[in-house]
């Protein structure tokens, strides 16, 4: 990758225009699908297995991270046959703690890096942060792009930075956060998606969760379409991670419908689709318990992470 001759970032006019009205109408259709009974249970289980259980706060402590890891491994003991979540997502400072707590459970450790959430640091610092997180045991790195440079039109710099980050990751998977809430238009989201994928992203991710709006269905649809077109062009599958603001099971199922109808069966797994969320898991558990008992549930009976 490093010695690949010239890699040129795609220009904005190389990305197709996005039809905003069309996107909104398509999303409205996804939201009208009725998913009931056994298919609903199946979807809820899939959602659980795709969650990146996240804590990204200044007040995080090793104790809180250990607790989150416990929750990741044992979501709700009174529900039999439910999967564990895909990964736990923390700051680099907490990677070692999470790695230790998760042991051999098969749950991955994802770490944000590159001066999350703003990305306002020199590339050198960002690369060091990634290397550190990987050395501490992170399996996945969530990087943020430099939105300032992107909006300034310095696409090549943004592109080169992602290439360098991918190289710094080594074996670890790289998720590239576009922070769509700061990009402004769906056209820029589409362009940024293509730029990130061509620079080597394994996953593209909507948001940090620190900016409103975070993940929305229209933005996610545009990114899924970019993934689809990229797959047709190159044959390489890229994963998708909407993050921030998805806290209800029903909404998560709408996302799965959108995923299924845009990218197809192959992407319906934790390897290719993730939800970045902290409170989604409990709502899904409550819905599963409701399906099992027929009785509406209360948060009082589900552990806080």
């Amino acid at each position: 990758m490093a010695k690949m001759a010239v890699m040129i970032a795609p220009k904005p006019d190389q990305a197709p225009r996005v039809d905003q009205v069309g996107v909104d109408e398509r999303v409205a259709r996804f939201r009208a699908r009725s998913i009931k009974k056994s298919s609903k249970v199946q979807a809820l289980n899939l959602v659980l297995s795709q969650i990146d259980l996240t804590t990204l706060e200044g007040q995080d402590t090793p104790g809180k991270v250990r607790q989150l890891c416990q929750k990741a491994m044992r979501l709700h003991d009174s529900l039999p046959d439910i999967p564990h979540v895909a990964a736990v997502c923390v700051y680099p400072m907490m990677v070692a703690e999470a790695k230790k707590a998760l042991g051999s459970s098969g749950i991955k450790v994802a770490s944000v890096a590159t001066s999350f959430p703003s990305g306002m640091a020199p590339t050198k610092v960002k690369l060091e942060e990634i290397q550190l997180a990987v050395e501490l045991g992170a399996d996945e790195i969530d990087m943020v792009i430099s939105r300032g440079k992107f909006l300034e039109g310095k696409y090549q710099e943004v592109f080169d930075e992602i290439v360098a980050c991918k190289e710094a990751c080594g074996e670890a998977h790289l998720k590239v956060i576009l922070e769509t809430g700061e990009l402004g238009t769906l056209d820029r989201v589409r362009h940024a998606s293509e730029l990130a994928m061509q620079a080597g992203a394994d996953f593209i991710k909507t948001s940090t969760g620190k900016i409103q709006p975070a993940a929305t269905m229209p933005v996610t649809l545009v990114m899924l379409q970019a993934i689809r077109d990229y797959y047709y062009d190159t044959g390489r599958m890229v994963g998708m991670k909407p993050a921030g603001g998805i806290s209800k099971a029903k909404l998560a199922i709408h996302y799965l419908v959108m995923l299924r109808e845009t990218l197809g069966e192959a992407w319906m797994s934790p390897d290719w689709f993730r939800f970045g969320a902290s409170s989604l898991a409990n709502d899904v558990l409550m819905q599963l318990q409701k399906q099992r008992t027929g009785v509406y549930q209360s948060e009082d009976y589900f552990s806080k992470d």
Binding site: V295, Y296, Q297, S298, E299, D300, Y301
Partner: protein
């Protein structure tokens, strides 16, 4: 854009000027009076009241209510269990704010409900008459309802003193018990009394800082739904009281089984329903309050939906 607005403004002005000029010369021009058109009445749509809004039922179902002469009085929303679930969500999110509001404020708001009801008394008398009461009985019921609200408004900052206690204990502790609202309360209103029975059931619950979801009387739901409009103009925070109309035998089980409801008040004496409620409520050890017949307003109805918290505070030593 600006120009068109101005142009429109001018044309409206000139139109009103024309109206004025014609009004200045009455009838002398001999312009014919328009024929007296029969006006179509604007009937009210009786909807649900959830989270401070008036939605229709998500199910799209309704049932027809007949007045005493057998004419259709209204189409009522036949609420579904999903409407109930939404109402519980609203009540739960409103709970902390309402329970944390000062007793004085809760009293003021209850009094405000009474004020609003007083101002709209006539509407409620009309609705009660539609449901078969004679005029005198109808106004008596409305007056009694207003008085009931004022009564509980007065109790909000008094029941804590009256019912909290300092307890004598045989150790060096200062031991005291205070009351706290239980949480979200579901209420099945009395069937026979359309307004008073409904308000009697709600007022002590919210006076004590709980939030409520109430099912209106199936046979006489009109007043309960109109009462939502009174609540809506009384500074009652959204979600504190939620009102559904529908079939009791369809919804009672949900009212009793929902895990996020902390107490249920069931007005009525149907033995099989009471048994079902007790069984379903056992799921989360809900408090069950059965009121077989109407009882006069008293502060114990506030206490019915309060928890007692007792604190042991070491002294001396």
């Amino acid at each position: 854009m600006d120009k068109t607005v101005k142009a429109e403004g001018r044309s409206i002005d000139s139109a009103s000027a024309r109206v004025k000029s014609s009004a200045a010369k009455p009838a002398s021009r001999g312009r014919a009076k328009p024929p007296a058109a029969t006006r179509l009445g604007v009937a009210k749509t009786y909807k649900l009241y959830i989270n401070g809004k008036f939605p229709r039922t998500e199910s799209g179902r309704y049932f027809t209510l007949a007045d005493t002469k057998g004419n259709i009085a209204a189409n009522m929303c036949r609420a579904s269990r999903k409407d109930f679930r939404e109402a519980v969500l609203a009540a739960r999110s409103a709970f902390n704010g309402w329970a944390g509001a000062s007793a004085y404020l809760r009293g003021q708001i209850l009094y405000r409900i009474a004020e609003m009801l007083e101002a709209r008394a006539e509407q409620f008398v009309t609705e009660l008459k539609l449901m078969g009461l004679d005029k005198r009985a109808a106004s008596r019921e409305v007056t009694a309802t207003i008085d009931c609200l004022v009564y509980y408004a007065g109790w909000t900052d008094k029941y804590p003193q009256v019912f909290s206690s300092v307890n004598p204990v045989a150790s060096s502790h200062f031991n005291f018990s205070i009351l706290e609202p239980v949480g979200v309360v579901s209420i099945l209103a009395r069937q026979e009394s359309a307004l008073l029975g409904f308000v009697e059931a709600i007022a002590p619950v919210i006076a004590g800082g709980n939030t409520a979801i109430a099912l209106a009387s199936e046979q006489n739901p009109l007043c309960a739904i109109s009462f939502a409009e009174v609540l809506h103009s009384s500074d009652v925070p959204a979600g504190v009281i939620n009102i559904l109309s529908g079939y009791r035998n369809e919804l009672a089980e949900q009212f009793a089984s929902h895990m996020d409801v902390n107490a249920i008040i069931a007005n009525g004496d149907d033995a099989s329903e009471i048994k079902m409620i007790q069984e379903q409520a056992a799921n989360n050890i809900k408090r069950v309050i059965i009121r077989k017949k109407s009882i006069a307003a008293d502060p114990y109805q506030i206490i019915d939906v309060q928890e007692t918290k007792t604190t042991w505070h070491p002294i001396g030593g």
